[in-house]
């Protein structure tokens, strides 16, 4: 198992946000985390990826106990987190954003650019523009491409289609579909059309817990059923 989370608890002060959560992600799997706003999905992802401390529980990545490790070390180990709010470095150009991601992995700048162009060819037109001038969709595609630099084993992606226009969602969907099977992904997503078409498994998150896991494709593709959890 690539990622194994066992009985994880996370607190904000005295408030418990994540309660006894366990989940697993295997190599190449695309797993979705679905639930209402405030259910604790982002907190869970940020805790796994080292941005928040856990109260208790186990987080194993590729067999190693990573609980408490800082986010930068986890990124170097092959786990990459893509933030919810399309956080590119607006003061840097698109090219500089890509080069920055290549730097810790000592990857050639040209190879890193190729990686991003591979999933989003139109980005070549914006390479020397400030990333702050990109639209939400362009930012998201840049972030997904940037996260692939350094050949990670696992991507944790927080709401990749949130706030995007329908046409751009299709583009993000195509990219996620293209990436499927090449590496493992744990994705928080509210767009059930995307979930039902791409998920290998779905974890339902409610009030800080995971009461249900959907394994069969019949359950996953039943959007009406899924909607009850949103």
């Amino acid at each position: 198992m690539l990622l194994s989370v066992g009985k994880l608890n996370v607190f904000y002060g005295s408030a418990q946000v994540v309660s006894d959560v366990s989940l697993e992600v295997d190599q190449g799997e695309m797993i979705f985390l679905v639930g209402r706003n405030g259910a604790g999905k982002t907190t869970l992802l940020k805790t796994i990826s080292g941005f928040l401390p856990s109260g208790s529980g186990k987080i194993l990545f590729d067999g190693a106990d990573i609980n408490g490790k800082p986010s930068n070390e986890l990124a170097l180990m092959g786990m990459r987190y893509v933030f919810q709010d399309k956080r590119v470095f607006t003061q840097l150009t698109v090219r500089e954003n890509i080069h920055l991601a290549a730097y810790p992995f000592k990857q050639k700048a040209s190879e890193a650019e190729e990686k991003v162009v591979g999933i989003y060819p139109e980005i070549v037109r914006f390479m020397d523009k400030k990333a702050g001038g990109l639209s939400g969709g362009q930012r998201q595609l840049l972030l997904l491409g940037r996260a692939l630099i350094g050949n990670p084993q696992l991507l944790l992606i927080d709401e990749p289609t949130e706030g995007l226009a329908a046409g751009i969602i299709d583009q993000v969907f195509r990219v996620l579909k293209m990436m499927k099977g090449q590496l493992a992904m744990l994705i928080v997503e509210q767009n059930l059309a995307v979930v039902s078409q791409l998920a290998d498994r779905v974890y339902i998150m409610q009030e800080g817990q995971i009461p249900r896991e959907l394994v069969s494709q019949a359950d996953i593709q039943d959007q009406e059923q899924l909607e009850k959890y949103l």
């Binding site: 941005f51 930068n72 170097l76 933030f83 956080r87 470095f89 080069h99």
Partner: protein
């Protein structure tokens, strides 16, 4: 008027050199670092300590004084500032203010509280439109421009600079790329502190060196940073020279109001454009 202009630009230049480090640490770490004023003071005293050993030569003594800031600022960052990341801003104020007070007392213990005057190291004058201006002040203005250009090149052209620019905007996102942000913040802290020491050195021959000199400059530096925008290098540069001119022009007509006017400008800027710390 030319004299006022030159004085304003000199003060602006020194304020820029001192404040830019404050702006960098404020912008990247969100830490209000009162200990910055201590490093400024230490720079001036290190110059006084180094001068006799170097035959009174100002330039090598300046280099030594600036280098003296490296171990001191490293220790402050590593053992005090780093523990304050993400903590309430109040803790940073209390902790770094304590460092400043302890440092000032140690300075008094070593050098005494009597102000020490330093003579103009250049001691030459340039005649511009019939007005005699000290060359030393013109050198300070040129050095501040040089520091600005060097920082611009460092931040825009080097990978370390780009990491800092990205870190100023979004520390978490930099960390998510596998970059140890704290390592670079420490480097920035040390560079900023060296500039504070450099500012202390440059200002010493214009004023007198005394243990409390840092307090004077601290509030002015914060005014520069707040008016220029937290973490904005170009904003800090413009703000330093504008506030330097405000001080010089106000001082020409009403001396006691020179510094007060800086804070009036700061208050107006904050009313128009409040900051979110």
């Amino acid at each position: 008027m030319i004299n006022t202009l030159a004085y304003g630009l000199t003060i602006g230049g020194i304020l820029y050199i001192i404040s830019v480090g404050l702006s960098l640490t404020f912008g990247t770490m969100r830490i209000v670092n009162f200990a910055h004023a201590l490093i400024y003071t230490v720079g001036a005293y290190a110059l006084i300590a180094a001068l006799p050993f170097l035959g009174g030569y100002f330039v090598p003594a300046t280099v030594l004084a600036v280098l003296a800031a490296v171990p001191l600022s490293y220790v402050i960052e590593r053992y005090i500032i780093r523990r304050l990341y993400g903590a309430s801003i109040d803790y940073a104020i209390i902790a770094t203010y304590a460092v400043l007070l302890i440092g000032v007392d140690i300075t008094k213990w070593i050098w005494g509280a009597t102000p020490i005057p330093l003579s103009d190291p250049v001691n030459q004058y340039l005649n511009i439109f019939g007005v005699s201006l000290p060359v030393y002040r013109l050198i300070i203005i040129a050095l501040s421009l040089l520091v600005f250009l060097a920082l611009e090149i460092f931040l825009r052209r080097t990978m370390v600079g780009k990491i800092v620019v990205a870190g100023l905007e979004d520390r978490e996102a930099v960390s998510s790329l596998g970059i140890n942000v704290e390592k670079y913040f420490c480097l920035i802290f040390v560079i900023g502190s060296c500039l504070a020491a450099f500012g202390g050195v440059l200002y010493s021959p214009i004023t007198t060196v005394h243990p409390y000199m840092g307090f004077q400059v601290l509030l002015l530096s914060f005014a520069v940073v707040l008016v220029g925008g937290l973490g904005s290098m170009r904003g800090t540069f413009i703000s330093a020279f504008v506030l330097g001119m405000v001080m010089a022009v106000t001082g020409r007509f009403w001396g006691p109001a020179a510094e007060t006017m800086v804070f009036v400008v700061m208050a107006v800027v904050l009313i128009i454009k409040p900051i979110d710390v």
